[in-house]
Amino acid sequence: MTHSLHRFGPYQDEDFVWQVYHAKGINDQKVPDKLQKVIEVVKEVGSENWGDVKTGPIVCTSEETIRGRLTVQSRLRGVFTRRAQVVQFLMRMKELDLGLSVIIAGDLSEVLQACRKAGLTPHTVNYSIGVFGRADLLPDEEVLGVTSMCGHHMIAAALVERLRERVRKGNLSPQEAAKRLACLCLCGIFNPVRAEILLRGEFKKGGES
């Protein structure tokens, strides 16, 4: 699945998805034990959201529950908002040498700099080339910026529009709205910090980040 690759809208330079994967039949030994160690790193670095799709994201599930349900099929994923976190994460994963695949998705200029700083050379890149077809069916860029943070499409554009309206009218805090949306994205790659900004509609000068 490429659920972390194609994101849209402003503030992509403050939005990094991390993933730790094993390949069935190749490096799938002791996966739960290894992922317990990954969780330690993720906490140390301060990932803003993370989880396991079979259990849910940390923003609305307990760490204990996620840890307790790790199996040989589990993969962990989450988000960072700063390049420095990505560098620290990569350095720690390199030190741990768990033998699992580590993937970072985001703005390439940022991600590649982070790899260099961590002393890592990319192995493979999946490049996002864009959207084709009936673009007229898509919601506006602000809404798309939020919905596309869940690459499995668990977040409906209509819900984002409704919550955005409530936030802007002052009937709902952007934090609460972002959390409600984050809980729908089961694997934990929804960035609640970026969602708050998009829901408030406060953009940098020039719109695009």
Binding site: K24, V53, R75, I103, H123, T124, Y127, S128, H153, A158
Partner: protein, 241 residues
């Protein structure tokens, strides 16, 4: 999925939650348009109904099961053993070597972002790519490949063509020299589909591979990619090319 109409009070809360807008209010009650529903179970799993009126209907045939497994990321596609939409694509390329120097991976999220797709539209894409001569992922690697009946023509099982999923990934490997034709075919078929797709091109990290890709994209009138998903090569045993 169905709504137990006897308990629905017509509040309409659930309408906002359906990713593909398949829930409508009919005569003051929530109603799921069966053909539009992708069985993602967002409505049911998240308990969005204050009266718990959503109820899964039995998945009685292969099409129903396929639709649900592809659209609900909590399910694991048993053919590949991978949750989500059932493929590892480039994420484990450091240990699988699925994508090698001299080739590019074509990774198309059809129906994404957030529109959904009928497999008849997916078939238009697989047919277009088949004409170029790409090699589709094996059924052990990708769930869509498991329902393709002819890799040479890009045909998909006829009984599934009216099945709608939230999104599905077309995966193929394209020799370097065929990349321009593949991009041209995708640009052309994009005019014929009633949905969207997000295109990813996978490459091993190599200066010459990257240069050729960016030049080819430019010639095809496509922008240089700003976003990417980077496998940093920490998987072991590291594949040797």
């Amino acid at each position: 999925m169905r709504v137990k109409t006897e308990c629905c009070v017509g509040c309409g809360i659930c309408l906002d939650y359906c990713p593909v807008g398949a829930i409508k209010l009919v005569n003051g009650k929530a109603h799921i348009v069966k053909e539009e529903c992708t069985e993602c179970w967002v409505c049911y799993r998240n308990k969005v109904c204050p009266n718990s009126c959503f109820e899964p209907t039995p998945l009685l045939d292969f099409a129903a099961v396929f639709k649900h497994v592809l659209s609900d990321p909590t399910e694991t596609y048993q053919g590949t053993g991978v949750p989500g939409r059932g493929t590892e694509e480039a994420k484990t390329n450091d240990v699988t070597g699925r994508y090698r120097p001299g080739f590019y991976g074509i990774c198309i999220d059809v129906g994404r972002p957030g529109i959904g797709v009928y497999l008849r539209d997916v078939q238009k894409i697989t047919r277009a790519l088949a004409k170029v001569g790409v090699a589709f992922a094996s059924p052990e690697e990708n769930p869509l490949s498991a329902v393709m009946t002819d890799f040479k023509t890009g045909e998909i099982r006829e009984d599934l063509l009216d099945t709608r999923v939230l999104s599905i990934i077309v995966e193929a490997i394209c020799p370097k020299e065929k990349l321009p034709a593949a991009l041209a075919a995708l640009k052309e078929v994009a005019k014929e589909i009633d949905t969207v797709f997000s295109l990813g091109i996978v490459s091993v990290w190599d200066e010459e591979q990257n240069r050729y890709l960016f030049q080819t994209l430019e010639k095809a009138g496509l922008p240089r990619p700003r976003r990417g998903k980077v496998n940093v090569g920490l998987g072991r045993p590291l594949v040797k090319f």
